[in-house]
């Protein structure tokens, strides 16, 4: 039984090629994401290459959040905790240690007196690093250091201690890789469901014949699922190598954007081939469930008909489900907009997009029928060719819908992702360009620009200066509600309200004293940190030191400034960098006075507010991660679109032949196919835009607080033209190839 079941794949793979291509795309993207998620991110030991064992203060932060099994959460620290300099002498006495020396001056190193970053230990000849590490661990715990954790590293783990940024970057990149897999699989399911549905419906008559000859519904279903499984294996095998290549590219790109340690290498295990095949088989088989079920229900009587046309209208169940999905999308939309917290709204955005897409997919035939009714005036303009195309569409709304749906999904997905990113970037740039209200901005270039507390004092002392504040980016760890890095600024001086317009919503920002913290409204919301003015919070500085503070202000304009403001004095000595500012913001004073002061400091640049704001707005435009996600989504959407349209066009070969026989010219038939493509494009774009807009508005509202998404004309036109181009290519190229083999088509 097994052999004949798969004969269709072996000998008549035409309609299934699309399924193989789509599952290959799914496999390639999954392999790429997996190879990033499990990338080899070990970093060279560098300066510590000659040591056997490295001892440092625990390089991770551990915090108990709430209760339960996973209550204890960890986060890699970007700065050393530091260990007492005396630890080196203590470790030198451990048996087997040849030498132990405290070392400082690593990236992320401390500058606290009496502490060193780490202790580098060399073993005596014949003592293995592993054994020595065990002895050191025992010595440290017996010496009463049990309460204070240490990181004791040997071998390749020394690299992570030598460069603390590695662990931070690794967790970002690998989390991103892993987080991309579920959406890839979900979207692939959509893509494949469209493709397999068409591949199955084109062969309805064969399945009817099988039923007549005595195949049960289950047997027909199993034939289709077996075919899809084989397509999945083929797709997995085809997608494996491109996936590895893509994973390599992705790993390098992430490393270039400091989201993976430099020198990371994508995971290239042969197991990935298995993973590729596994994922694409699962996706292919799952996506075919509905199609297989429908084919199994094919009435055997259809085998007696000359041409098996599927019903003009979808089943009432499908329409009901479609209306249900549309209603669900409406409810979800209301619920999303009703969410108090932006985080809650953002979390609902992807399910909202999926629900809208399900509704479009289910109601496709109805939408096509409506569009065909609306398009009737085109008959007068387009002549007989338009008439022909429209007649074909009206006669078979379901068949046309299978071409329109992937177009709509492509527009909805790509549009929602791209324009959500564009809207957020636009809002960020707008805020970045207007957050700073200081007259002039001093920025430092190079590590020793000397923008420090002394410089700030000098600036403040200049005649006429009404306000001057130093700001430096800082990342702290906070429980919002999970332990995560939160980015903000360390600030000093003031009054802040004269140099920054942060849109304070409660409390006051005139001065930020030690023991105080300002939090953005987004971050303070109930779904995140859940605080208000006067709340007591604990955040963790880069070296893990807890900073317990009272919330003194909440502010709205956080896209550019970050989510927390902390007094620079509280942060000093805990950041792993020399104390200093990235910028000093100055209001009042004279240009000449500042220029005079800057003349004595070669690393300083003094700029007007406008120039500084323009630079900040420019910096806000970097959307690497979003471009990455956009690339994935666009790839899958394009595969689905081309796949389905090519199959649907090839299927119209009979119509093409018939038109040729009744005397249609090649030009007339080409025009009819062109009108068809135009109809598919316009209907798909309009439907997709509507479905995507719902999600876009929800995301924009959540992230920027504005109801109006930013839709620049050029990318919007690019999206429409790109989709139109793909549709035209996927329809007209197969048409051209087919028409060349139809001598009956008259020239002209």
């Amino acid at each position: 039984m097994r052999g004949w079941m798969l004969a269709g794949v072996r000998r008549g793979p035409g309609p299934l090629i699309g399924t193989v291509v789509a599952s290959a795309a799914a496999a390639a993207l999954t392999v790429a994401a997996l190879s990033v998620a499990i990338a080899d991110t070990s970093v060279p030991a560098g300066r510590l290459a000659g040591t056997s064992v490295v001892v440092a203060g625990d390089t991770s932060l551990h915090v108990t959040v709430g209760h339960g099994d996973d209550a204890r959460q960890s986060l890699p620290l970007p700065a050393y905790r530091g260990v007492p300099a005396g630890l080196a002498g203590q470790l030198a006495r451990v048996p087997g240690v040849a030498a132990a020396a405290g070392e400082s001056g690593f990236p992320g190193g401390v500058v606290r007196p009496g502490d060193v970053d780490l202790v580098a230990v060399t073993a005596k000849p014949g003592v293995s690093p592993g054994v020595l590490a065990g002895r050191i661990r025992a010595a440290l715990s017996s010496a009463g250091h049990g309460g204070r954790g240490y990181t004791i590293a040997t071998g390749s783990a020394r690299g992570d201690v030598a460069d603390l940024t590695a662990a931070v970057e690794r967790s970002e990149g690998q989390v991103l890789g892993a987080a991309l897999i579920p959406p890839i699989v979900t979207i692939s399911l959509f893509v494949l469901a469209a493709t397999t549905g068409l591949a199955v419906s084109l062969r309805r008559r064969r399945f009817a014949l099988l039923r007549t000859v005595g195949a049960t519904r289950g047997q027909v279903r199993r034939v289709i699922l077996a075919e899809l499984a084989v397509c999945g294996v083929a797709g997995g095998a085809l997608g494996w190598l491109p996936g590895l290549a893509l994973g390599g590219l992705g790993t390098r790109a992430l490393a270039a954007h400091q989201m993976l340690p430099a020198g990371s290498a994508a995971w290239r295990s042969p197991w990935l081939l298995l993973a590729a095949c596994g994922v694409s088989v699962i996706v292919a088989v799952l996506s075919g469930q509905i199609a297989a079920r429908r084919a199994g229900r094919t009435s055997p009587a259809q085998a007696l008909l000359q041409t098996v046309a599927e019903g003009k209208w979808p089943s009432p169940v499908r329409i009901l489900l479609g209306l249900g999905a549309a209603g669900g999308a409406g409810t979800l939309m209301a619920f999303t907009f009703g969410q108090k917290s932006a985080a809650g709204q953002l979390a609902l955005a992807f399910p909202l997009l999926l629900t809208c897409m399900v509704a479009v997919a289910l109601l496709g035939p109805v939408l096509v029928a409506v569009a065909a009714w609306l398009a009737r005036p085109a008959r007068a303009v387009g002549g007989p060719s338009a008439r022909l195309a429209l007649a074909a569409i009206s006669a078979q709304p379901r068949r046309t819908a299978s071409a329109v749906i992937p177009v709509a999904l492509a527009v909805a997905m790509v549009g929602a992702v791209y324009f959500a990113d564009a809207s957020i970037a636009h809002a960020t740039a707008a805020q970045a360009g207007s957050t700073v209200t200081a007259d002039r901005v001093i920025s430092g270039s190079g590590a020793n620009a000397g923008l420090d507390a002394a410089a700030l004092r000098q600036v403040r002392a200049l005649p006429g200066v009404r306000a001057a504040a130093g700001v430096a980016p800082v990342s702290v760890a906070a429980t919002d509600p999970d332990l995560e890095p939160v980015y903000g600024e360390a600030v000093s001086g003031g009054p802040l309200s004269r140099v920054l317009d942060l849109g304070v919503t409660s409390g006051s920002l005139s001065a930020l004293r030690p023991g105080q913290i300002a939090v953005s409204a987004l971050e303070a919301a109930p779904g995140a940190m859940g605080v208000h003015t006067g709340s007591r919070v604990t955040v963790y500085l880069p070296d893990g030191t807890p900073y317990r503070a009272t919330v003194s202000a909440l502010y709205a304009r956080s896209l550019a400034a970050g989510d927390v403001l902390i007094p620079a004095s509280a942060v000093a000595g805990h950041t792993g960098t020399a104390p200093g500012f990235a910028q000093i913001l100055v209001s009042g004073g004279s240009a000449g006075g500042l220029a005079g002061l800057a003349a004595g400091h070669p690393g300083w640049h003094v700029a007007t507010r406008n120039v500084a704001n323009a630079a900040a707005a420019q910096a806000a435009q970097d959307g690497f991660v979003n471009n990455l996600i956009l690339g994935l989504v666009a790839t899958l959407a394009a595969v689905a679109l081309v796949n389905t349209l090519v199959v649907a066009t090839v299927e119209r070969r009979r119509a093409l032949r018939l038109l040729g026989r009744v005397g249609a010219s090649r030009g007339q038939v080409a025009a009819a196919f062109g009108w068809h493509a135009l109809f598919v494009t316009v209907t798909g774009v309009v439907t997709g835009a509507a479905a995507g807009a719902v999600t876009l508005v929800a995301v924009t509202k959540a992230a920027t607080g504005s109801w109006a998404p930013f839709i620049p004309l050029a990318p919007a036109a690019g999206l429409v033209l790109g989709v139109g181009g793909l549709v035209a290519g996927a329809v007209m190229i197969p048409f051209w190839l087919m028409s060349r083999r139809e001598p009956a088509l008259a020239a002209g």
Binding site: M1, R205, T212, G214, T216, P300, A301, A303
Partner: protein, 266 residues
Amino acid sequence: MLADTADIVEATPVSALGTPVVLEDVTKRYGRRRRAVPALDRVSLSFGAGSFTAVLGVSGSGKSTLLQCAAGLERPSAGTVRLCGTDLAGLSQRRQAVLRRQRVGFVFQDLNLLPELTVEENIALPLRLDHRRAGRADIELAAARVGLGGGQLRRRPAELSGGQQQRAAIARALIARPEVIFADEPTGALDPHTAAGVLRLLRGAADGTTVVIVTHDPQVTRFCDRAVFLHGGRVDRVLADPEPGEVARVLHELGERSGSGDGDRS
């Protein structure tokens, strides 16, 4: 001979009943409307064991609907169909499928064969679906009975002529040694000479199997021992040992009666 006992439909001795196909008061309406003109209107007919019957009528007379209801491909709106001694109304979809592959064979006008299977795989399909071993010898024997053999068996259907394809379809219909073969215009796409050859083969190979052929070709009745004429969904008349000339006259008369412009509802 049957490998999978789970799928054996309760075997009723054919000889005891003598009539593998019985229709009693069968009505079939398409569409939901009560006032829709029935495609079959209270038809009662039986087809005795080993009989070779042609069902004739003009387009829209209900002959294809009759075949579909008799073979269990469509459920009648009213009435009873007994196939191989079993009331079809009482059978699940699954058991109907099993009944078809074990005891019924089908031959259609065209598109009989799955294009991706070879001729021999097509012939063996009912056995394979029934989880039975399809021995080479059995397949070659079935093929030989319809005059196919050698390299033809390993070809794909598209590589055969129309007549050869119909013969392969007949071999497939015969492979499971069915009690009944339903044929819907089996020679409709063939030239008269090839058609006669195919029918002669069917007649010879059937050998005790009940055959019901739906056709509008009077020449088919040369090989039949009975001709049933349908008109407007009802049995108009039945001729024993029909003669093509007479059949043609009856068909012409029926055509005159129904007038022109009658659409093909079946």
